[in-house]
């Protein structure tokens, strides 16, 4: 029916009638796995729908998904897998290690100047198979570019608003009032077609974020106007596999909650495309929560513990744990090494968020 052969698998109905009592999902997946009938990526969706009935598949056809045969038995997910990045307009894997260091030059006083061009663009994203999200984005991506600077650098962000609504860029950091990206202060709201250059210094070091601060605030952020803002300490950090994870959600129906949750913008993406890491190597995750409409987000890793540096503003960790929570705008650094090769899940420990898209895998290559 979809990319994978249903004949290889016991149909759900057969399994159910075999185990007459309502078979719980873990029991079902265990049964299927011991039967050895599933490929490694078997059953991303909960199960195969009743086969043999000439039913139209839901739009769009999961056949379009190049990874449609990558399914994960017993896990939540969209039927047919997550939206392929090229169709979605979002590639969470690419965003993961895409640090934008800007155009670098040296000022007369010897300091480093970094410059970026950020453009607010209205753009549609396919956040779930068949579901179009009319997003507002910085540079056409959700989350926006991860801006990277070193502590003390001079920063210039040339902002132009190509969207249909007034927007701003509000940076978390220490800067003059008129550079705060707050309506009514300094340049205030940047109207459609207008431009403004935000100019300030990169302090303090840590893992920060930027977002639009135009009112009404919730939709101006939640439609996609946010991104990571990383300031490296002057002395640097120990070399590591650095990555950015922005936890977000999509409120598609205008209600008071989100319909979809993700990390780096695309629900269930890392279930189909696990984050590739190397055994024993230090992994540093800049974790940022921009989730609107829901009060608290969380991050949990399987089979491992990590050091947590709240806001990344200190060089000693505050905690050694496997689960942390963040409220809106809260962020921090997660540092860990994977002692064992294999696949390890990571997800919001709020299972509602997890099963609505915020879950994924690390795939640890043997060293």
């Amino acid at each position: 029916m979809y990319g994978w052969s249903s004949s290889k698998l016991p149909s759900r109905r057969a399994v159910l009638s075999g185990a007459a009592a309502a078979a719980a999902v873990p029991a079902l997946s265990a049964l299927a796995l011991t039967a050895g009938a599933l490929p490694e990526h078997g059953g991303h969706g909960p199960s195969e729908p009743g086969s043999g009935v000439p039913e139209a598949p839901p739009t769009p056809s999961p056949r379009d998904a190049p990874h449609a045969d990558q399914r994960h038995a017993g896990h939540a997910g969209f039927q047919g897998g997550s939206v392929p990045p090229e169709r979605a307009g979002i590639d969470p894997t690419a965003i993961l290690r895409d640090f934008d260091r800007g155009r670098v030059s040296t000022l007369p006083d010897g300091r480093t100047l970094r410059e970026w061009d950020l453009v607010a663009i209205d753009k549609d994203f396919e956040v779930a198979p068949g579901v179009t999200f009319p997003g507002w984005s910085y540079n056409g991506r959700i989350p926006g570019p991860s801006l990277w600077a070193q502590e003390g650098d001079a920063l210039r962000i040339h902002f132009s608003n190509a969207g249909a609504h007034p927007h701003t860029i509000h940076f978390h950091g220490v800067h003059p009032a008129e550079m705060d990206g707050t309506p009514g202060i300094g340049a205030g709201s940047i109207l459609p077609g207008q431009t403004f250059t935000y100019e300030f210094d990169a302090i303090p070091f840590g893992t920060h974020l930027y977002h639009c601060h135009q009112s009404p605030l919730a939709p101006h952020i939640a439609k996609g106007l946010y991104g990571a803002f990383i300031i490296e300490p002057k002395q640097g950090r120990p070399p590591a596999d650095d990555m950015v994870m922005v936890m977000n959600g999509y409120n598609t129906d205008g209600g008071d909650d989100n319909e979809f949750y993700s990390v780096n913008g695309l629900p269930f993406h890392f279930m189909d495309f696990p984050v590739q890491v190397t055994q024993h190597e230090l992994v540093r995750i800049h974790l940022i929560n921009v989730l609107e409409y829901d009060p608290i987000n969380s991050f949990h890793i399987h089979g491992n513990f990590f050091h947590y540096y709240p806001t990344g503003t200190m060089l000693t960790p505050s905690e050694f744990t496997d689960t942390i929570s963040q409220v809106q705008g809260q962020r921090g650094i997660v540092e860990l090494r994977f002692p064992y090769p294999g696949k390890f899940m990571f997800h919001a420990h709020k299972t509602e968020f997890a099963e609505l898209g915020w879950m994924g895998f690390f795939e640890v290559r043997p060293a």
């Binding site: 839901p58 939540a76 198979p129 319909e259 099963e355």
Partner: protein, 409 residues
């Protein structure tokens, strides 16, 4: 106008300047053709207001017509009752994306799609299903307590037919056992019983209208509650027409007789109650099929008592004379058997608007019958509302109300 009419006899002439007569059918169709041409020209010229106005976002209005649960599966019928096509892109069962198939990827206006959701629901648990559209909209469906819907097997249909016999045929025929009692009653008492029938029918009419209204309000695709009124008027006019047609035939044979004869009235009552029972059976069958009705002894008993009084209504008009048109048992069948059809129909092709329409149709039928009986209530002085007839009507309404409480269980 006949073709042999001479021009002198007609005050108005449909003449072209050339004096040639146009055919009548053409004169009838001409305004329609002309308006079609004008509209065609306007749309060709892209007159303002005719095209879709700019960037209006699509309106997504979807009504859920039925929810059925079977092992590991939830089946929903969703109908588009808005003006724009709707696509269901994802199905979320209590915050979990479930695999599903649907009979239509895009639901055009008025169309319905059958969505089969694979989900291991737990008996007795409440669920909230969200159908997420391609535009991100959510259509919510609440399941108060999950329970397996009856399987639609031959035995199920047999059960439905039996249910129709229980609530329709048996009670009505049992009710007709009151015949000897009515036969021995005086004329005044029979008028009181007829009053009872009128009260009963009036109650049934209002009850069915309200019930149909509630059902049809679930979906606006086919006009919503309006179809109930449509059913009422249609049934009333059809029965009136039938009555008039029967009367016309009789008059040529027997001579002028302006009131409806008792036998024909009995047939009309039987037919009216039959149409009402069709709607009632439909409501029972559909409620049972979608699992919103537990089949209990109390319910059957309630319906039986409720409908027994309908038998009394049929026999009251001709208690003092032998029926001419149909034997009593046939009348009982005419009144009761449609409940079987209704149960089967409701269990197979449940559609709220259709159910609402049929309930309205039944209401119109019993209303027409009630109005037909009224002249028979007159005593020798020609008074309609004597203490006895009024008390009879009140008793009829009260009995229906009280027995009706039994079937709300």
């Amino acid at each position: 106008m006949s073709t042999d009419a001479t021009p002198e006899q007609k005050p108005y002439q449909d003449l072209t300047p050339e004096g040639r007569r146009l055919p009548r059918w053409f004169l009838g169709l001409a305004p329609l053709i002309l308006s079609a041409i004008v509209l065609g020209l306007l749309s060709l010229a892209q007159a303002p207001g005719l095209a879709r106005l700019g960037d209006v976002p699509p309106r997504e209005e979807v009504a859920i017509e039925s929810v059925r649960l079977s092992a590991g599966q939830i089946e929903l019928v969703a109908r588009n009752e808005g003006p724009d096509p709707v696509s269901i892109a994802q199905v979320n069962v209590s915050d979990y994306f479930a695999a599903f198939t649907q009979s239509r990827a895009v639901i055009d206006p008025l169309q319905a799609t059958t969505i089969k959701v694979t989900y291991d629901w737990v008996e007795g648990d409440p669920y909230e299903i969200a159908l997420i559209t391609s535009a991100g909209g959510k259509i919510l469906v609440a399941i108060a307590a999950a329970a397996r819907s009856p399987e639609k097997e031959p035995s199920f249909f047999a059960l439905m037919a039996l249910l129709g016999v229980y609530v329709g045929v048996i009670p009505v025929i049992l009710g007709m056992l009151w015949l000897p009692f009515v036969r021995r009653s005086s004329g005044a008492w029979v008028r009181g019983l007829l009053g009872f029938t009128v009260g009963l029918l009036a109650f049934l009419g209002f009850d069915a209208t309200i019930e149909g209204w509630e059902l049809a309000s679930q979906t606006g695709a086919f006009g919503g509650p309006l179809v109930v009124l449509l059913g009422v008027m249609l049934a009333y006019l059809l029965l009136e027409g039938l009555d008039g047609w029967l009367k016309g035939h009789r008059r040529t044979a027997v001579g002028a007789e302006n009131t409806t004869s008792p036998g024909r009235l009995a047939l009309l009552i039987a037919a009216g109650i039959g149409m009402h029972n069709l709607g009632e059976g439909l409501a029972i069958g559909s409620a049972y099929a979608v699992g919103s009705l537990g089949l209990g002894a109390a319910l059957i008993v309630g319906f039986a008592i409720h409908n027994t009084t309908e038998g009394l209504a049929i026999l009251s008009p001709w208690a003092h004379e032998p029926p001419r048109l149909a034997p009593p048992r046939l009348l009982g069948l005419i009144a009761g058997a449609p409940a079987i059809i209704g149960c089967l129909l409701g269990a197979t092709v449940y559609q709220p608007t259709l159910a609402g329409f049929l309930l309205g149709f039944g209401a119109g039928a019993v209303g027409q019958v009630a109005i037909k009986i009224l002249p028979m209530l007159r005593d020798k002085a020609g008074r309609l509302l004597t203490p006895l007839t009024a008390a009879g009507m009140i008793a009829g309404i009260a009995v229906m109300y009280l027995t009706g409480l039994l079937v709300r269980a």
